[in-house]
Amino acid sequence: MPSFTYPEKNELERFVAARYRTGWVWQVIFLSALIIAIFSLSALLLNIVDGAFGYVAYEFKKDPLTISEKPLDQLNQQELIALLQANLSRGAYNKLNNEKPMESRSQGELYNLVIERIIQVKTLQTYPLFRSLFEKAAIEAEVSERYPGARLEFRSWLSPTFLTTPQSSKAEFAGVRTAVLGSLWLVGIAIAFALPVGVGAAVYLQEYANKKSFISRVIQTNINNLAGVPSIVYGMLGLAIFVRAWEPFTSGAMFGITDTNGRTILSAGLTMGILVLPLVIINAQEAIKAVPDSLRQAAYGVGATRWQTVWHHVLPNALPGILTGSILAMSRAIGETAPLIVVGASTFITIDPQSPFTKFTALPIQIYQWTSRAQSEFQAIAAAAILVLLGLLLTLNATAILLRNRFQRRW
């Protein structure tokens, strides 16, 4: 009988205390890691929020009070048209009228036109949210000293109008409509390509291919690695294949559309589709793997073919997982910037994308362009656009979680 010696009495107490101490130290280390993580993430978010709201100092080229007796927003359509006629040069007026007849413009559109073309608001300086909240007096002093005659107004750069107006060269009138629509088109095309192809490939790999064979293993490894390839590489691929090689198809020339080149929504969408394809495949494989073998055996046991087993049992039960994975892939696609720049997103467009064969811009591109402008008002709308992007991402992720909870099965 070997003798086992364990600590006794006093020694034991010290030993136990030491173990607790070690545990406590580690607990503190983990907690600090968590705090650092939360802190950096909140700092990021606060920084963006800080930029998207706050005081604006601006001035008018023409004072609204001098051009009309009534406040501008109380004028009706006819009065606004008259105002435009009176204050714009004949050429400028006719040009606008040719773009869209004045009579067919709504009161809101005409009002914006008056502000933009006659009043000509000019932003002098923008102030971030936290300064605006806590140092109002200092801001007022600074404005009255540096910009005499300027007006000061608290402004939320993120607003319903911001969402619904297209791009503009003046930050005060710019919105993200075109970019949001572009992003939605892109993600739509990407997922329309990646979902069927990805799920098909996943079903083949999981249910048909011999997983132990050399070829399967090579393919599997490659898919896993492709998921980690930097996105700009996909951009180059998209440029070479979709924009250049497939130009007749992606520009729509094949379908009789002549006014575009290959740098269309379709090219960009397909590039994004390939970019998220490995993700979709891997997620779908995981979802299919999670369907227990006992269910497959049950189906085969009553004389089902492989196809019947897959179609009636494996896929329906893997569907929630597949959908969740696809939505996460969509979130990835919606935030990607580099491949879009390579494929050739447009820098300035104001028309809504109408078909897959139109030029496009997307939210991250728009944000990238605005952040690279020096004026502080562009920084502010960039912050607002980032909030829109974050909102879209949150919505997608929340949908993924809802789907998962709703359809999750217990075995």
């Binding site: 011999n210 997983k211 132990k212 227990p292 006992s294 269910l295 497959r296 055996q297 049950a298 189906a299 085969y300 046991g301 009553v302 004389g303 089902a304 073919t305 019947q308 009636h312 049992h313 039960n317 099965r409 075995w411």
Partner: protein
């Protein structure tokens, strides 16, 4: 053509060996399974009982490395012949698994699905009722046919799986430790049910429970690992009362009396 007397057995193996890759899991089995009787396969774990059972309806095909040597004859036809479709084999030889595995669907659909994919053309309601009655489950579930099969108890689920198998009208029903996940009362119900079923079906059951084999089966095949090759084979096959009262092989005697190992 095979001689006519082959068909006196429900199923017959000839020099059957089953491999997983290089590994020979089951060696040289020669069994003649009687029609409309219950045959039990017993033996220590890992001796290849499940492997042998799954060979009977080609469920081993799903292990890519598995292959067989020798023959399994069903009505004189080799189940592993080139012209044989394993899907058809599984329709004729149904299987009940160790852990109840109903489909995550309604009770009704659990039975209807197998029938439908096999081209059943008759009245579905009737088939569902008949199968559930045959599996002694009808009275318990007749009011909740549209409810999920997962709401049933383990024993009920297993009887549902039996009903699902009956519904496709197999000739033989294979059961791999069908009661090992169930409590004693549910086990008893399954055993009673087997006695009912053998009027119409040939049943082959794998069990690790000696009493169960002795209670329910007419014939018993005793399997054992061969010491050197780690490969299992049938060392004795006889009427159950013979196996349990006067076995010829010393190893069988040790095993059934609990002196094994």
């Amino acid at each position: 053509m095979q001689p006519a007397n082959n068909t006196q057995y429900a199923i017959e193996t000839r020099n059957l060996s089953i491999f997983y890759g290089e590994f020979e899991a089951v060696t040289n089995v020669n069994l003649q399974i009687e029609k409309q009787k219950i045959t039990a396969i017993i033996g220590p774990s890992g001796c290849g009982k499940s492997t042998l059972l799954r060979a009977f309806n080609r469920m081993n095909d799903f292990v890519p490395t598995s292959h067989v040597r020798g023959e399994i004859l069903l009505q004189g036809t080799n189940l592993y012949g080139k012209e044989i479709d394993p899907v058809e084999v599984r329709r004729r030889i149904g299987m009940v698994f160790q852990k109840p595995n109903p489909f995550p669907k309604s009770i009704y659909e659990n039975i209807a699905w197998g029938a439908r994919i096999n081209g059943y053309k008759g009245n579905m309601d009737e088939l569902v009722e008949q199968s559930l009655r045959a599996a002694a489950l009808w009275d318990e579930v007749k009011d909740k046919l549209k409810q999920s099969a997962y709401a049933l108890s383990g024993g009920q689920q297993q009887r549902l799986c039996i009903a699902r198998t009956i519904a496709i009208q197999p000739e033989i029903i294979l059961m791999d430790e069908p009661a090992s996940a169930l409590d004693p009362i549910a086990t008893l119900k399954i055993e009673e049910l087997m006695q009912e079923l053998k009027r119409n079906y040939t049943i082959i059951i794998v069990t690790h429970n000696m009493q169960q084999a002795a209670r329910v089966s007419d014939y018993t095949a005793m399997m054992m690992l061969h010491g050197d090759t780690r490969s299992g084979t049938v060392i004795e096959y006889d009427r159950t009362d013979v196996i349990f009262t006067r076995p010829k092989d010393k190893r069988t005697e040790d095993y059934v009396t609990g002196r094994f190992g």
